[in-house]
């Protein structure tokens, strides 16, 4: 009980919200796709990664296939892949635009996706072509609920 209270306080301080199941973390102020990628918006630049929920469902990531800088990405379409537990899974872009930067560190440290999904494990940065697309993404509360419902349904 006491540790749960501490966890809530710590979560509050770090701007995380801890799901009731005490499981995957969700960060406020990010936007989320229903394919479990997150977006951090800074002007017209979008930093993209996969969520804590996603990395947990993947298992230990051993390889990240990154796109080329300058490549085009489209909302809802795949831009790369990750490999974990002998499974390759595609990663979708929550927004459309052009790839401005890729996280090269993932080439040597793919496990950052698991260890730090919202910070050091970011995957690409995109120069957005259509800011309106952000409206179709979920906020942190909606995404938390989405995860709960998805996990409860099975």
């Amino acid at each position: 009980m006491a540790s749960r209270l501490w966890a809530s306080r710590a979560a509050s301080y770090l701007r995380l919200s801890v799901c009731h199941r005490g499981f995957a973390s969700v960060v406020k102020d990010l936007k989320y796709a229903d394919t479990h990628e997150w977006v951090k918006v800074d002007g017209t630049s979008a930093t993209i990664g996969i969520t804590d929920h996603a990395q947990d469902h993947l298992g230990d990531v051993v390889y990240v296939e990154l796109p080329e800088v300058g490549a085009s990405v489209t909302q809802g379409n795949g831009f790369g892949a990750v490999e974990s537990v002998k499974a390759t899974s595609d990663v979708n872009s929550p927004v459309s635009g052009k790839v401005a930067e890729v996280n090269e560190v993932l080439n040597s440290s793919p496990g950052l996706v698991n260890a730090s999904p919202y910070e050091n494990g970011w995957v690409i940065k995109v120069e957005m072509s259509n800011m309106g697309e952000l409206d179709s993404l979920m906020d942190s509360d909606k995404y938390s609920k989405f995860c709960e419902e998805e996990d409860a349904a099975h």
Partner: protein
């Protein structure tokens, strides 16, 4: 949401690797469009070496030209996993299923694939177990009996698993199987004390294990696919 989930089972016999890839592409396309239900391919390949997405070519221990003279092919794939060998008397399952429908992420899906192979081995009194972290697959002691390599695209699966029933294990000498240096490979034939039934029966049992572990109630068998 278990319900009366249907699984279409395609028994393809010995199928060339390229043909199997083409068939899976067609099935995934049809599955994504909702034209077909979840589908399971049951087959074998002629002697074939395959590499996964990471192209771990360094785990092929002989020149590619030598493979040809052995009568084996080499294929580059988009599946996860390292280098492996497929050949006659190795039972392969390629599930083309929608993981989102059944609420499985990649890790749980692969765990289920391991589980079904373990259950299958137990039918023959063989105590197999899942690999340690980072060693996905199914082992008897420190000998590998079942391999996994899958591709998941928008939640739809392709590629799958391979269980060594009684393949020519010498073919594995030309690779570092699955990239793991100090462990060997084995087969059901080597590990069991029981007499093996016909391959038809064996494949049927493997399919049953798949259906049971994944909760498919209704199986529909097909010999060909248009």
């Amino acid at each position: 949401m278990r319900g009366q989930r249907s699984l279409e089972v395609l028994k393809m016999g010995i199928m060339n690797y390229s043909e199997a890839i083409k068939l899976q592409e067609k099935l995934i396309s049809d599955r994504k469009l909702g034209k077909i239900t979840d589908t399971l391919l049951s087959l074998q390949h002629p002697p074939t070496y395959t590499l996964g997405k990471r192209r771990t070519y360094h785990n092929l221990l002989v020149p590619e030209s030598e493979l040809k003279s052995m009568g084996a092919e080499l294929h580059y794939t988009e599946r996860g996993g390292d280098i492996t060998f497929h050949g006659p008397h190795q039972a392969i399952l390629y599930p083309i299923i929608n993981l989102r429908d059944i609420g499985l992420g990649p890790r749980k899906y692969v765990e289920n694939l391991e589980l079904l192979m373990i259950e299958f081995a137990s039918l023959y009194g063989v105590q197999a177990h899942a690999g340690k972290k980072g060693e996905t697959g199914v082992w008897v002691g420190d000998r590998k009996i079942g391999a996994i390599g899958v591709k998941i695209s928008s939640g739809f699966t392709s590629h799958g698993l391979a269980v060594n029933i009684d393949p020519d294990l010498n073919y594995f000498k030309h690779i570092v199987p699955c990239g793991i240096v100090d462990k060997g490979v084995t087969s059901l034939k080597r590990e069991t004390n029981m007499v093996l039934p016909s391959e038809e029966v064996i494949h049927e049992q493997l399919i049953s294990c798949f259906a049971r572990v994944f909760g498919y109630i209704n199986l529909v068998y097909k010999d060909t696919y248009q």
